[in-house]
């Protein structure tokens, strides 16, 4: 049995995942990082993207959609603080697709407006991104 680290994925609403894993691969602002056991203490900012953990001698992989957040590594414990997170098997594809269409529509409407009137465009863009990631992760279902 390989050395493991405890991975915890928490959102403000609930604990999404806790497990002993062998590797955590997370999307940071500057690209993906992989965290292995005995990693030095680290705090980093995550962007919206896919996070995956490997365990069981690297044979099993689980995918999560993450809408951005933070990651802290300390003494073989990885805490992922995500604004929103969803396991690949729990993504509501239908809902994500509808939300994506809605966000795209709103984006299109805003494109025609002058810059000053584009209120909430960042939020809308983030929504869109989040939907895309959820759909992307849903594809990873085995």
């Amino acid at each position: 049995m390989a050395r493991t680290l405890l991975c915890e994925i928490v959102t403000p609403e609930r604990i999404v995942y806790t497990n002993e894993v062998e590797m955590v691969i997370a999307p940071t602002l500057d690209g993906e990082i992989g965290v292995l056991p005995l990693h030095a203490p680290l705090v980093t900012v995550l962007r919206a993207g896919e996070l995956r953990v490997r365990y069981n001698d690297n044979k099993d992989v689980e995918w999560f959609a993450i809408s951005g957040g933070y990651l802290q590594v300390h003494e073989d414990k990885v805490i992922v603080l995500a604004d929103a997170a969803e396991h690949s098997s729990r993504v509501d594809v239908e809902r994500a697709r509808r939300a994506k269409e809605f966000a795209e529509q709103r984006m299109a409407e805003m494109k025609d407006k002058p810059l000053a009137e584009r209120e909430g465009i960042d939020e809308c863009e983030a929504d869109l991104k989040w939907c895309e990631i959820q759909l992307q992760v849903a594809e990873r279902r085995s």
Partner: protein, 294 residues
């Protein structure tokens, strides 16, 4: 002499009211539990968040960030007022609205104008009635607040504070003390008080040397807005739990009052019935006596 039928009708009406209040009491009791669980499940995130924040703050000595800066002159503040969407919960909303009004008045006395963000139909209705137009309103979130709601509320405050449009932000909400007790409270959201970033642990322990990606300052820059969002989220949830608690207490006393009233009414009903019977007997006896004499 009260009419028998009138009393009967009142008893029936009080009974049906007490049925409603009793049901609402039970519904509220069930909802408190769920709301409490929701607060519980937010705790791991909040703890981890504080830990990260304190870790980062240690490395960014004398950290400067727009959200930490106190503005030297106060001209405009924002007050987030959290009430419920529904009534029948005792003094729950009136406490909040009173505190909000006091706050606005005190600030106005010092020449500071206040914008109000109203959460809950009760705040919206009350403020509009008083001729105060809230800058933003949120309804139908008080029962089941989500992090996205909190985020949207926080976003506008953070943006305006960063732009220097406002000089402080407060949130007024009911803190959930226990099932039977709520406390209306004012909390300062912005500027973020520096003491929250100081860790309580003593200095002697061996501290881990953290790496920061990209840099500690940049992590802090992301972290502080999120911190404000979690504060708002927490307040929303506490308010939701408090609402059910307040409603349960209010409905319980309403039910108790109703049963007391039914007892009193039943007593006067019986008395009236007795009196009617007595009168009738007296009449019969009187009639019979009159017949005998004839």
């Amino acid at each position: 002499m009260p009419n028998l039928r009138d009393i009967k009708q009142r008893i029936v009406s009080v009974q049906s009211t007490s049925q409603i209040t009793r049901t609402m009491e039970m519904v509220a009791t069930a909802k408190i539990k769920k709301a409490q669980e929701r607060i519980e499940s937010a705790r791991p995130y909040a703890f981890a968040m504080m830990e990260v924040l304190q870790n980062v703050a240690r490395y960014v000595q004398g950290a400067s960030h727009p959200l930490l800066e106190e503005h030297p002159e106060r001209q405009r503040i924002v007050v987030v007022t959290i009430t419920s969407d529904r009534g029948l919960c005792g003094a729950f909303n009136s406490n909040i609205l009173r505190i909000t009004e006091d706050l606005v008045r005190d600030e106005a006395a010092e020449g500071v104008s206040a914008d109000i963000i109203a959460v809950g139909k009760k705040a919206i209705g009350y403020l509009r009635y008083r001729g105060i137009e809230p800058v933003a309103t949120y309804r139908d979130i008080s029962d089941k607040p989500t992090f996205a709601d909190a985020r949207s509320i926080a976003a506008s405050i953070i943006g305006r504070y960063g732009a220097g449009e406002i000089d402080a932000a407060y949130i007024v909400f009911n803190r959930f003390k226990n099932v039977a007790e709520q406390k209306a409270e004012t909390y300062q959201l912005l500027p973020i008080e520096r003491r929250v970033m100081e860790s309580d642990e003593d200095e002697n322990g061996l501290r881990a040397e953290y790496l920061f990606e990209p840099t500690a300052a940049e992590v802090l820059e992301h972290l502080l807005p999120t911190y404000v969002e979690t504060l708002v989220y927490r307040a929303l949830m506490e308010s939701a739990a408090s609402e059910h608690g307040a409603r349960r207490t209010a409905m319980k006393s309403a039910s108790d009052n109703a049963s007391e009233m039914i007892t009193t009414l039943t007593r006067s009903y019986n008395r009236a019935r007795q009196a009617a019977i007595t009168t009738e007997i007296a009449e019969i006896v009187g009639g019979a006596a009159a017949l005998e004499e004839a």
